[in-house]
Every structure is written in structure tokens, then in C-alpha cells.
Symmetry: C2
Subunit: 341 residues, 2 copies
DNA sequence: GTTGACATTTACAGCGCTATAGATTAGCGT
DNA sequence: ACGCTAATCTATAGCGCTGTAAATGTCAAC
């Protein structure tokens, strides 16, 4: 047993290979990188030394030397929330395809954690950041303007000079409501506005809901816009149960996310209402639970793959030096009909 | 030549701060690290320079110098699967508490990707790896024996010399079956063995299921051990529907994961069977969907937080130099009863 | 005053790799 | 043979930080 100072036990370095092969370090580096102008004899000799010693390049050193890390940070509120987990997967795959790896940062809905993301907490650690903010607004992000390339996901409260990709929430909500109306629904509830929600999403979706109704000549009934005390499933259940008990009637519910749609399923079941016979339920985000629930949820489906691809694309341009104004991109959405409508 | 390769535009370095403050680099470093033996005048002067220049340390350089990265890799099959997403969250939080960050590696059930994890793909990038293998067995892992500290999650096909943490699947299955029997169930089905499943988990759970039944003096009925063609919800639905159509009767189902439990809910509903009146359903993993489904799923609940904490603890010891034999740790589980039992 | 014994601060050699510039060799037309 | 270009290969200066060893200051105790 060789005695090592706590640190990485006598790791094999590039120089060791060079010495064994009797060549310069640069030549070893060249064969490691498959540089073309290396004679095949040389390549063979070096490769043999690499194999013999079991050399593997130290990525940290490489990074310091090149200034590129090959990693991007993905900052999301919670990685076990369906929507974010799915986005993380897509972004991870997309990044992988382009030779990047991702490191996931959970902000856990903490303002300070989100600020830390923007303030280059990752300095020198990642080449870029994809960030889905939950607590801080785009204005503040613009103010803290990080040095690392950044792309935002999700709603932008107002136009800012930061790259940004999202779906058109308002138009998606309109599409959802129109779909419900096509199947004859007229009294459509919105589940729900959430107390203390500082994100723009709910608002935009509500707006689309109202626009569609008005466009169809249906008068808005404020009692159909449900109110929830929080984002949990129980909050959702309470919101809808309260409405039912208060005598509010409706034949469809547009939900701000799939979780609220599950809440609707539960509350309606408890009230003895059948889905979709008595009430249609339309979720939002089209996460895996939509497929797994019984009855399977219809849901407004953002094109997550496109979201990931576009976000990564914008980021890549920034990483390659683009330094122009912030760009806003809209990716497509669809209404996926399953068993609840 | 100031003509550097497109590299990071004039970033502020430690040396810049040192020059501005008129002190040595080491002193700046000391201030950055809150080293105690720094006079407060000095600290103030240096801090002012840091603030003025907006200096932020380059983590890559720090890493190269210290040999510690402060990061651990978490390698899991897919990060959008409920169980893995939740484990990722817990491990991320646990690591964060100890000053580490995680980088998530999706192996996507690919054998080569899993081998790459073991073969130190992360060389010099992370201080340790927590790995939940899906395709390669523990024997192969032992053979490829990586240089980086490693802790395994999930079942070990056989004792190996690698740290490893899991719940006692067999005993958990027994507990689950006993709970079902206590509520009077006698014909308990197992959903399901999966064709092509090379993991040990299903097998161990099935074993526990059988042990509990035998211990209660109930004869094993092979028709109650359902067979599925795959891991998807539809595979699960088909497996259970086929059994029902074949005239197999049962009053409870122990499922190998929550997804199959949702499948059971769906198939039973389609067959007009009520849950839990006619058939009890017990899921496994106690993922968020268990709480969200209607009726809410009862589920075998591994203590994920403990799993994360123990795994991280073992890894930390390895990272600090422990080099003894592989340790196996069992963490607690519980049976969470909700509405399906 | 001096002397230790500490507390502070500094100088500088790495960490392992890449990249630039220059040295060497090879290939070829005349 | 000779000159010239192109193909290979080498030497070495960083990348930005930390750790070590040594230098300098400070202060209480003689």
C-alpha cells in the first residue's frame, strides 16, 4: 500500500505518460485529443503508455487551462416536482447531446438561493446557467446581471434584457377553454388563483381563460375563478369543495397545473360528481401524472423538449460570445386530450 | 500578446485584488476564507478592494489547487422518475448541508453509461459518487473498482466489497403483506414480476411476500404472482386485467412500485371492482403520486431521507480516506396507510 | 532594552493541463 | 544536392488559486 497524503492517491498524470513514452507532454495531449497531425507510430507508442498506466485526464486541470468547463447549471425550485424533474431530464439530455453536462441547483423557493444563482455563485464552475426563477422577478435579475451566460425559463413579468423562453400561456389557456367549449361546456371554472403567488403564470393563464370566454360571448362569473390558499393538493381540494358547497355550479375546470387537476378529481369524486360526464377537467403541464392518473388527465402540454432545445440553443450562442439584447422565444404547446374531457 | 483565445473577458483575479489593496495574494485569500489571523484593518482594506472590483473566486482554480472539488456525482437511471427524483432531492439537500453540491448523471438505463460512471468518468471532477445501478451487477462494479469513492444505492445481487445502502426489501414486503392480512385479506396478489428485469428488488420483494403468506399458513397460489411485460403503467394494467379475465380472484394486491399500484387502481376500476372495499392496493416507494392519487395510495415507504443521509455519510468517510471493506447498511421502512387499504 | 513567543504577512512553488511559438524532420521540385 | 514548404514534435509559459516556509511585527516578560 503506497502511502499517500490524504490527497488523490498517486494519480497518473499526463507527464508520467510522456516520460514513459519518451515524448513531450503536448504529444500525449495530442493523442488524447485525437489531433490529426500525429504519426501513427507515435500515436501507437503513446496509446500504449496511456493504457499501461491507466491514465485518465484530470478534468479540473483541463478546465483551468482552457477556461471552458463543459458544464451548465440548471437552477430550478425543486427537482422532485414533476414538471421540473421532466425539464431537468430534457435539458440534461439536450446538453449531453452537445457535449455538456448539467449540474442541478435546487433553489427550494428561497429568495437568497435564487439571488445566489444570479450572482454567479457558479463562477468558473459552469459555462452557462439555465434558470427557472420562482421568487425573484425579472427586473431584479436584470439588475444583478450576472457575468455568466444566462437563459431564463418560465414567465417574464415584464420584458427584460435577458434571454428567455416560455410558452404563450395566455394563448394556451384560450386554446384549452375553446376545446372545452367545443365539447359543449359553458360554465367553466378556473382552479385557481393562489394567495401569495408572485409568479406571472397563473395570471397569464387566467387572462387567456377570460379572453376565450368573452370571445365566445360568455359572461364572466367571478365565482368561477376559484381561490386557493396554497399550491398543495389539499389546498386545491379545499378550494373546489368550498365552491361546490357554496352552490357554485360548473361543467368544466381549467386547472393551473396537473396537481390542481388531481385535486379537482378528488374533490369532484367526493362530491359525487362524475368526470368527465358531469364535469370536464383539464390539467396543465402534461406531466407524467397526467398519464398515470385514473381517469387519465387531459392537459395543456408545453413542448418540453422544444423548451429544452431552444433554451440550450440560446445559451450556447451566449456561451460562444453572442452579446446582443435579450431574446424572447415562444415554444409550441398542445392540448392533450385523455379521459377527463 | 493580449490576444487571448476568446477566453473569459477580463475577469477579476485574486491578484488584481492583491495589487489594488497593496497586499500579497495570500492575504487576500485569507480574507476570502475568513482566516482568523488577519488584522481587522487589513481585512477591511482587502474587503474594500474585493467589493470595488467585484471579485469572485474561480472555483476551478481553487479545485485544482486543493485537489477537492466539493462536488459529488449522483448517478441514477432517469431523473424524472418519481423515486429517483425524490432521492435526488434528498441527496442534494443532504450534500448541501455538508458543503457539497451534486451533479446529476442520468444513465438512462444504458449499460455503457453505467460502466462509464464506474470507470471514473468523473475523474477529477467530483470527490465521490453515489450510484443507483439499474443494468450492471454488483460483481461487475467490484471488478471495475473505481478510484473515486463510491456508494451504491439499491439492491446488491450479492455481497460485494463496495459500500452500499438499501432497505430490507424482503422484510418490508413481509410487513406489507402482514398489514394486509391483519385487515382480513387472504388472497393477496403480487404485481408483478417483470420480464427482463435484471434487478434484484422485485425478487426480494416477492420473496418477502411469499414468506409472509407461508408464515400465516396460507398456501401459495402461483396464479397470484402476476407477470408483466414491462415497467410501464400499461404493462401493469394489462397484467392485472389479464388475471381478472382469466378468473383469478384476489382481495389485495402488493405492488412492486407505486406506478404498478396506479395501474392496479385503473385496471380494478375498469373491472368494476372497488378499492379498498373489494380489493386493497398497496404501492411501493411512497412517492408523491401516492399522496396525489384518488384514492390516495397506501404504500411501502423506504425512509428516503435516511437513505440519503446514510449514503452520504458512508461516502464522506470514504472521501476522508477510509479504505476498509465494503459496508452494507439497512435503513428503516414503514407502511404508510392511506385510502387504498 | 532584549528576548522569546506568537500573530501577521509575504514570496513563490506547485496543482495537471493546454496553447503558443519554435525546433526538427520530411517531402519534393529543380 | 539545395532550398522551401508542410508535417511533426518539443519546450515552456501560463490558467487562478492554495499551501508551505520564511520574513516581519508585536508585545509581554525579563
Amino acid at each position: 500500500m503506497a502511502m499517500t497524503t490524504g490527497r488523490s492517491a498517486g494519480r497518473v498524470r499526463l507527464e508520467d505518460v510522456a516520460v514513459l513514452a519518451g515524448v513531450s507532454m503536448k504529444t500525449v495531449s495530442n493523442v488524447v485529443h485525437n489531433y490529426e497531425h500525429v504519426s501513427s507510430t507515435m500515436r501507437g507508442r503513446v496509446q500504449a503508455a496511456i493504457d499501461e498506466l491507466g491514465y485518465r485526464p484530470n478534468l479540473t486541470a483541463r478546465r483551468l487551462a482552457t477556461g471552458k468547463t463543459g458544464m451548465i447549471a440548471l437552477a430550478i425550485p425543486e427537482m422532485d416536482q414533476f414538471y421540473f424533474a421532466e425539464m431537468a431530464r430534457h435539458i440534461g439530455e439536450e446538453a449531453g447531446r452537445h457535449g455538456y453536462r448539467i449540474i442541478v441547483e435546487q433553489t427550494l423557493n428561497d429568495v437568497e438561493a435564487e439571488r445566489a444563482v444570479i450572482r454567479d455563485r457558479e463562477e468558473g464552475l459552469v459555462d452557462g446557467v439555465i434558470f427557472h426563477p420562482a421568487r425573484i422577478d425579472t427586473l431584479e435579475i436584470a439588475r444583478l446581471r450576472p457575468g455568466t451566460p444566462l437563459v431564463l425559463l418560465g414567465e417574464a413579468a415584464r420584458p427584460v434584457n435577458t434571454d428567455h423562453v416560455m410558452i404563450d400561456n395566455t394563448s394556451a389557456a384560450r386554446d384549452g377553454v375553446e376545446m372545452l367549449m367545443r365539447s359543449g361546456r359553458r360554465r367553466i371554472a378556473f382552479l385557481a388563483t393562489v394567495r401569495g403567488d408572485i409568479t406571472e403564470s397563473t395570471h397569464l393563464r387566467l387572462l387567456g381563460y377570460q379572453e376565450a370566454l368573452l370571445a365566445a360571448g360568455i359572461e364572466l362569473d367571478p365565482r368561477l375563478v376559484l381561490q386557493s390558499d396554497g399550491f398543495s393538493i389539499d389546498d386545491g381540494v379545499r378550494a373546489i369543495s368550498a365552491a361546490i358547497e357554496a352552490g357554485v355550479t360548473f361543467d368544466a375546470v381549467l386547472c393551473r397545473d396537473d396537481l390542481f387537476a388531481l385535486a379537482a378529481l378528488r374533490a369532484l369524486g367526493q362530491a359525487g360528481l362524475r368526470v368527465p360526464e358531469d364535469v370536464s377537467v383539464l390539467g396543465w403541464d402534461d406531466t407524467a401524472v397526467a398519464r398515470y392518473s385514473t381517469p387519465a388527465l387531459s392537459s395543456v402540454s408545453p413542448d418540453k423538449r422544444a423548451l429544452a432545445a431552444v433554451a440550450f440553443g440560446l445559451l450556447e450562442e451566449r456561451m460562444q460570445g453572442y452579446d446582443g439584447v435579450g431574446r424572447h422565444q415562444i415554444v409550441p404547446h398542445a392540448i392533450i386530450e385523455r379521459a377527463t374531457t
